[in-house]
Symmetry: C2
Subunit: 217 residues, 2 copies
């Protein structure tokens, strides 16, 4: 039995939900509310699962796994079909690099705890906080758009016409970008890929608004 | 022929140098100076290799690879010996999660371009910038120390007595922490692992001070 500790709005959680759906793996949804009562991720019971106090956490029959990309690689290794990585090592590196650019260059800067530090410790205004958010998202996506165009490998999805880990990372990042009113007109290729992904049930079902703990806005 | 575009002080570059050394793979060292003349990573020739303007970039006989973790996974797949990941999927997920915690939760916040944004856009003082740096490093390493102790899987290295990708990521992060005078007395297990790694020639040879483009401090 798979149990996913996650939060509807967490984009790292969203990634794992997509991967589980694409693999056709049912799972129990365990909600960890990141803002209610000071943040349930800081509760001792949750910290015992993940000292880092971050979602998602996947419990696979008692084996506790953390970090969304490590979880997705684990699912790929234990449930290879359908594959989320291509077979060729150079193409695998391309897909992983695309995914890591989102996971390492864009998302970490816009994490809840980082935004809180900006406000509480550096006394950033609401406007400065939002500008920070948009800066990293818009610059990061622009670099990905440039790369996708330069490589010429995209089709319906980031790599030709098969969904990969790259798409799994892209879609939640676009959701975040929209929530914070980031510019997206400068990344038409990424948006075309996003729209193609959102035609698939695995992505539709994984989106924040469809989760049991979803709230308005 | 392998050519590594990198910079002596870049910790993402340092990771790939360690992995190449552990695999026994010789490579040509192509220096990309990140601060001289406005940053050589922003030069059009380099941007043609990596739109993201980040080091490291590995050129493997014309195949251009980016993102340090994607490069290390590629090396693991194309040169499996000696392995940098264990065989068991749960242990692989553990090692990857450890590595990703550094790559996604600690390092991105202390990147050169992030520190510049703090100073230029948010007018952070030198003291505030250094406090930011130390906050994310000290908190992130503390969470890893807690996890390593709770899991009880460490030996000479992060996972028992064989060097893995987790150690490859840990060592450059400790170098960064020392450079910015971060506390390290709260992570004795990580420091013991660090010292064990630094007895190995692959790590010794990859350190910043031994690189052809090294400068004082």
């Amino acid at each position: 039995m798979l149990r996913l500790y996650n939060y509807f709005r967490s984009s790292a959680s969203f990634r794992v939900r997509i991967a589980l759906n694409l693999k056709g793996l049912p799972y129990e949804y365990a909600s960890v509310h990141l803002t209610r009562s000071g943040g349930q991720q800081f509760a001792p019971e949750f910290r015992a699962l993940n000292a880092d106090a971050l979602v998602p956490v996947l419990d696979d029959a008692g084996r506790v796994l953390t970090q969304s990309l490590a979880i997705i690689e684990y699912l790929e290794e234990t449930h290879p079909q359908p594959p989320l990585l291509p077979a060729d090592p150079v193409e695998r590196a391309y897909v992983r690099s695309f995914a890591l650019t989102i996971a390492c260059e864009i998302h970490p800067l816009d994490n809840l705890r980082v935004l809180r530090y900006l406000v509480r410790q550096l006394h950033a205004t609401e406007e400065q906080k939002n500008a920070w958010y948009r800066h990293w998202v818009e610059q990061g996506l622009a670099a990905l758009e440039t790369r996708v165009l330069a490589e010429g490998r995209s089709g319906r999805y980031v790599l030709a016409d098969a969904v990969t880990m790259a798409d799994v990372l892209l879609v939640p990042q676009i959701f975040n970008a929209r929530r914070y009113d980031c510019r997206l007109d400068h990344v038409p290729t990424l948006m075309r890929i996003f729209e193609h992904c959102m035609e698939l049930q695995a992505f539709i079902d994984a989106q924040p608004s469809r989760q049991p703990d979803a709230e308005d806005n």
